[in-house]
Every structure is written in C-alpha cells, then in structure tokens.
C-alpha cells in the first residue's frame, strides 16, 4: 500500500463516518420529540454533513481519478463504504439516538482535537473547524443523557435499552489497521490507542451520573475498516442514492 492509497482510505473512513451519521440523524427532521430538539438534531446533522463533504472532497482529490465528492457519496456500493458501524445503526427512539450520539461525540471531540495537529494541512484545517462544532454537539448529547437518566422510570429504561443495543458497536471506533500504521508513521493519522483510556473514563463518568450500567462482556462488533457492514447500510444507501442513480447526469 502506498501513502497515497492509505490517505485515500483514511479520508474515506472519516468522510463516510460523517456522511452516514448525518444521514441517520437527518431522519429525525420533522420527527423530533418537540420543535427545539427537532432543530437541534437537524443542525447537528448539518454540521456533520458539512464535515463529511469536506472530507470526501479531499478523498476525491487524494484519489486523483477525477471523481468528485458527489461521485463518492452516490456511486459507491456498501462494500466500498468505510463508515464506522455505530453510525449506521437505526435511530431507535430518541434516547437511543442520544446515547449513540454521546458515545460518538466523546470520541470525535478527542479525535478531531488530535487530528488538528496532523502534518496533513487539509485534515488539520477540517479538524480545527470541527472541534468548535463538536463542542456544542457533545454538550447537547451529554446533557440529554443526564436528563433521561435522572428523569422518569420510562426515560431511564429507554436510555438503558438504547445503550445496551449500541454498546457493542462503540469499540470499533478505536480499531486500527495497516492504514493507520502507515499514516501514524508519517505524522498524519491519529493513534487511536492513545484516546481510549480517556474516552472510557469520560463515558463511565457520564453513565454513572445517569445511573446507567454499561453492558457486561467485551464483545466488539467490527468490520467497517474492511468495508463489511450490516444490512442497515444497504437501506441507507438505497434511499440516499436512488435519485442520483436514476438520473446520473442531472445537475442542480
């Protein structure tokens, strides 16, 4: 694998993770539990879409085959997507969406803070921009975990159930392969193993505050680094890609 191939794959991983998460979150548009939350999740989705667009634009440039970010988003199949599995999990109820978001925001804030020191100027720039936005996202998701956890029996149970469902997918965020190894050596990629202890500490504090118990067992579902996904991604792509695939030359 050349550095260029590694960087292309790394950019796809980051871009796809943002794109698919944003696509999932935007399913709440018009369906939020009340107006302010509807606006909040829509705004958060928009920030993450923007980040995904910038990252996929850079991926297309790194690949150097004349593809655009739209080509990458709309004309790749499941096996060519590298989004983290946690992002494609169904939204479930609002509690599940919020707890998924809290796990991801906690990871993302640490990750993009490190990436902003990357030797790759484009990645560092996109990361520096994202930190400001993720700070708001994390404050939002953490405060709702706290409220649901200390709310009613119903809100607590829904939050705990959501956590149980999403938990096995969180560990994959820290998985590294030969792409990471190569790019860490060049000072481009973030060494994910350095982020894990702090993430675990922050999340266990959050869970304790909300009276939640992390599920027993350490099973971690992986696959996305190799382009292996659950069936959920297929449905997301079918919906997201249907229009451009039907009219591939359309412009707007």
């Amino acid at each position: 694998m050349t550095s260029q191939e590694a960087l292309f794959n790394y950019n796809l991983r980051l871009g796809d993770t943002s794109l698919i998460l944003a696509q999932r979150l935007s399913e709440w548009t018009g369906h939020g539990p009340f107006l302010e939350e509807d606006l909040a999740l829509t705004n958060i989705a928009l920030d993450i879409f923007g980040r995904g667009k910038a990252l996929l634009e850079y991926a297309a440039k790194t690949e150097g085959k004349g593809r655009t970010e739209d080509d990458l988003a709309f004309f790749r199949n499941d096996r060519e997507y590298f989004n983290a599995l946690i992002t494609e999990q169904p939204n479930g109820d609002y509690a599940k969406t919020i707890v998924r978001q809290a796990l991801i925001d906690c990871f993302d804030l640490a990750f993009y803070s490190e990436l902003s020191k990357s030797k790759d100027e484009t990645l560092a720039g996109i990361a520096a921009k994202s930190i400001k936005e993720i700070t708001y996202h994390k404050r939002h998701s953490f405060s709702w975990v706290n409220r649901f956890g200390n709310g009613t029996e119903e809100s607590f149970n829904r939050l705990q159930n959501g956590l149980n469902e999403i938990w096995p997918y969180a560990g994959e965020l820290f998985e590294m392969n030969e792409v990471d190894a190569l790019l860490i050596k060049e000072g481009i990629a973030v060494d994910l193993s350095m982020l894990k202890a702090n993430w675990e500490k922050e999340i266990s504090q959050l869970l304790a505050k909300a009276n939640l118990v992390a599920p027993e067992g350490t099973y971690v579902q992986t696959g996305s680094r190799k382009g292996l996904h659950g069936e959920h991604l297929s449905y997301i792509l079918a919906e997201m890609q249907s229009l451009p695939r039907m009219h591939p030359t359309a412009k707007w």
Partner: protein, 161 residues
C-alpha cells in the same frame, strides 16, 4: 485594473443570504482575493461546516465579479484559520442587534463558551438581561434560541464560536 480595496468594496455590496443586514465581508467569510485583469480567485471560509448559505454566497460573489469585468472567477474554500465570531466588527454587531439578533457577547479567547457558562445575553428588543436559553440550536447553524423573561419575546442569539 482593479485594486484589492475596490474588490472588497464590491463584495461588501453582497448581503449575507440569511442575515441581509450585514454583508459577507462584514461576516468575515471573504479571506482574500488574488487577481489579474481578467481572472480572479476568491478565498472563502465557511461559518459552519454545513452552512447551506455558502453555495448562495459563492454564486453571488461569482455574479458580482463577472458583472464588474472579470472573465473567470475561481472560488476556493479554505478551512484555516477557522472562522470565528471574533471577526465580526463592532459595527456589524450593532447592525445585528438592530435587526433583532443578539450579537455574540463573548470573545472566544475567554473559554466560557466551551463550558457552557454563557453570560446573560441582552434582549435585542427591550435590552433586559433577564433572558434564558431555550435551545443551543436555533433557526440557522450560527444561532441559538433565547427568550426574554421581561418582554417575553423569543429571539436569536448569534452564538460565539
């Protein structure tokens, strides 16, 4: 041949598509221009990564420069340095307030915005400080939703990033 000053004053005629009382130059998104007689490149930075108004701003910049004699306009989106509300001029902040949007009250140098301990925001309508945040996320990415406890009006706050 145009001067940089001329070009910035041309671009100052373009309003922010979402907050038309301030120009895109006052907003701080136009970072630089490089040009010769026929060709111009404009460096533009997004306020928020996903700000849907960016495309509109690019189209408006292109149109304005073509109308003023340039043959090719290249728009280059840059992410560094990241946009900050610190770039809003004092004048722009007054315009925002008159328009009914509370301007950012802190500088990003004090890190209170990171911890969520925001100052009491002044109601742009009655100037009361007795206000409360309804939601960190408002009608556009750059705004939060507040409510005045005195005049009871809801208002947008241009949040500090």
């Amino acid at each position: 041949m145009q001067t940089k000053e001329n070009i910035f004053s041309l671009l100052s005629e373009i309003p922010d598509p979402e907050i038309p009382v301030i120009s895109i130059v006052e907003l701080g998104v136009i970072r630089d221009v490089t040009f010769d007689e026929k060709n111009i490149e404009v460096k533009i930075t997004p306020t928020y990564s996903g700000c849907p108004a960016m495309k509109q701003m690019e189209d408006d910049v292109r149109k304005k420069l073509i109308e003023n004699g340039f043959e090719t306009v290249k728009i280059n989106t840059v992410y560094t340095p990241a946009w900050t509300t610190d770039w809003l001029s004092a004048e722009a902040k007054i315009k925002l307030q008159k328009y009914g949007i509370a301007p950012p009250e802190e500088s990003t140098n004090d890190k209170s915005f990171l911890t969520g301990k925001t100052k009491n925001i002044t109601c742009p309508r009655c100037k009361s400080k007795n206000t409360m945040m309804v939601s960190q996320f408002g009608s556009t990415a750059c705004k939060a939703l507040y409510k005045c406890n005195d005049c009871l009006e809801a208002f947008d706050y241009f949040k500090c990033i």
